[in-house]
């Protein structure tokens, strides 16, 4: 197809955020995904979340691997750098960029193929290092870009468009992240913007690795009867368990959250995530119990959604490694290089 440039016109009455920017300022290029793709709804939610938080566009870094999901980093926050990495290697690129400049905001967008097959090792190690980033999986259960083969998140018994059944058990990114020690684990649905936007905001503000697994139906290859990742099936089987609202530092917590089940989690900058339990039996602050509950519901064919596990993370990558407060790429060469005298000392250690 020929590329149509998106006109940069904004109606003067569009609401502005604290920086005086409209939602249009957080958009990117025109999407080339199929009409109705769940991924485009997630893109819209990211735009809304970034606008709402008033992020400086140039401070947002967008990273992705390969796949339909990974194309979407071109479709939001055009004023930030974006990097489409090699398939499954987005966490490495995020790691390098974050190591060089800890001050920027890192959003990784990946798919179930990119994360759970070719990139599974990278995904696990990004969690293990507690890399300070928001990692969104746009999960549709199929390889969309290569025309609809089952991915590693396809459920047992789900049917492909041409009728074959999947018999291999799925890898659940949420359960995997919880066993690896992730401090922010959420699941959502591309069709539930009210749930998704505050989750993205909370994930962006969380210091450490934040995972949101977003069920995002593939309208072309996985939206038929017999599929367990279709719009219809997801709407019937998803179960909001914990609603999370992000409350910036400057805003007071209002009476809305004064109910018995509201649970504030204070973040490093003083802002909070306020959790409201929609399922009173569910405990989003107890890792082992939460994991067991998620697993039980999956057995019953249901997806619990919302902020499923959260703790204030204490050991983000830079804290563990004792790097300086200033971004490494802002330090002058003279400070970084130990010089000839430094080299002599290193050599002396080997004599």
């Amino acid at each position: 197809m020929t590329f149509i440039a998106k006109p940069k016109v904004a109606h003067p009455s569009l609401p502005k955020n604290a920086l005086g920017l409209t939602r249009r300022d957080y958009e990117g290029a025109l999407s080339t995904l199929c009409a109705g793709c769940g991924h485009d709804s997630i893109t819209a939610a990211i735009v809304e979340a970034c606008w709402g938080l008033g992020l400086e566009p140039q401070n947002v870094v967008k990273l992705s691997g390969i796949g339909c999901s990974s194309k979407t980093t071109a479709y939001f926050v055009g004023g930030g750098h974006g990097f489409n990495s090699v398939h499954g290697r987005m966490p490495s690129i995020a790691m390098g960029a974050n190591a060089a400049n800890r001050d920027l905001i890192y959003i990784g967008v990946s798919g179930d193929g990119d994360t759970l097959s070719i990139g599974l090792g990278q995904f696990c190690h990004a969690i293990r290092r507690n890399l300070n980033m928001l990692y969104i999986i746009e999960n549709n259960g199929v390889y969309g870009l290569t025309k609809g083969q089952f991915s590693a998140s396809a459920d047992v018994g789900t049917k492909a468009k041409k009728g074959e059944t999947n018999f291999q058990p799925p890898i659940d990114p949420v359960l995997l992240a919880m066993t690896l020690g992730a401090s922010f684990v959420a699941r959502s649905f591309s069709g539930d913007k009210q749930q998704l936007v505050p989750l993205i905001q909370a994930g962006l503000k969380h210091e450490g690795f934040a995972l949101i697994d977003v069920l995002s139906p593939c309208v072309t290859f996985n939206d038929h009867e017999g599929s367990t990742k279709s719009y219809a099936y997801t709407r019937e089987h998803y179960e909001p368990a914990v609603h999370a609202d992000f409350v910036p530092l400057e805003r007071e917590i209002t009476a809305d959250y004064g109910e018995g089940e509201a649970l504030p989690v204070v973040l490093h900058d003083g802002s909070r995530i306020v959790l409201r339990k929609l399922d009173s039996a569910y405990d989003p602050t107890n890792r082992s119990r939460a994991a067991a509950q998620i697993q039980e519901r999956i057995k019953a064919g249901e997806y619990l959604t919302g902020l499923l596990y959260v703790e204030r993370s204490q050991n983000e990558f830079h804290q563990v490694n004792g790097t300086p407060d200033a971004p490494l790429n802002s330090l002058p060469y003279e400070v970084l290089s130990p010089g000839s005298q430094g080299l002599e000392k290193v050599l002396a250690r080997y004599r």
């Binding site: 590329f3 290029a29 140039q58 967008k62 990974s70 055009g78 990495s85």
Partner: protein, 262 residues
């Protein structure tokens, strides 16, 4: 791109150069060590650091420079060397760009247009030509000045230099070129052209250096004689001496292996 150090000492210096080349050419650079260099003990001179050295960040624009431009295009070849200007994240919305996995125009926008895409591929070819001028030159010992040369790379170096001394005792003198980078520097072509017969010494079964030489230079294949060592042990001078003499002095008696090693 690839750099080929011959010992741990050269690994150190080529690593520094690799970073500069990677930033100047905006491409990954591999420093190709091998098992012999990496796992065995080596005698090396003290490593030295030049305090006057400053890293080459290549073509990088800061905020002020970007703001002076009407528009910033990451992949546009302004200088004709095939290398575009880049910016670091966090500078300014105007400096932002998207490194995409699919086809783009020379202005960095998404495209599926064949002609637009081809322009970008042609630019990369120009960059390849630029790289040939910037990579470390080959190390050439042409003191023999004869018609026969020996070409090699990496950790074969020690065995080759010993072999050249031994060969002198047999009345055979060879010019020696040690390639240090791929793409090949411009002097590689000259050395190949200046010799009628060339031994290509390397430690792999498939003669990969010889293959690259035939693909990337104008050298006549018939001039090349491979001496391949791939038993898993480091190459010895004896192996090279035997191989060279078998070609140049067929029937001549080679000193026994022990004698060759003193």
């Amino acid at each position: 791109m690839c750099l080929y150090p011959s010992n741990p000492e050269e690994c150190f210096y080529l690593a520094v150069q690799a970073f500069d080349l990677a930033e100047r050419l905006q491409t990954p650079v591999l420093v190709l060590s091998d098992l012999d260099i990496g796992m065995n003990d080596w005698m090396c001179r003290d490593l030295e650091w030049d305090d006057n050295y400053r890293p080459d960040r290549g073509k990088m624009l800061g905020k002020e420079e970007v703001l002076k431009l009407e528009k910033f295009y990451r992949f546009l070849d302004k200088d004709g060397d095939g290398i575009g200007y880049r910016t670091l994240p966090g500078v300014h919305p105007k400096a932002a760009y998207f490194t995409r996995g699919s086809g783009h125009t020379q202005y960095g926008a998404y495209t599926e247009d064949a002609a637009e895409y081809q322009i970008v591929l042609d630019r990369l070819l120009k960059k390849w030509a630029t790289a040939k001028r910037l990579v470390p030159r080959a190390v050439i010992d042409a003191t023999a000045g004869g018609r026969v040369g020996l070409v090699s790379l990496g950790s074969c170096d020690g065995a080759i230099r010993e072999a050249l001394d031994v060969l002198k005792q047999h009345g055979v003198t060879l010019d020696y070129m040690r390639v240090r980078a791929f793409p090949f520097s411009e002097d590689v072509e000259k050395f190949l052209a200046a010799h009628e017969l060339l031994f290509v010494v390397e430690q792999n079964r498939d003669a990969q250096l010889r293959q690259l030489l035939t693909l990337e230079t104008a050298v006549d294949k018939a001039k090349l004689r491979s001496l391949l060592h791939y038993s898993g042990l480091p190459i010895s001078s004896h192996f090279i001496v035997e191989g060279v003499l078998a070609e140049l002095q067929p029937g001549a008696r080679v000193a026994s292996r022990d004698a060759a090693h003193g």
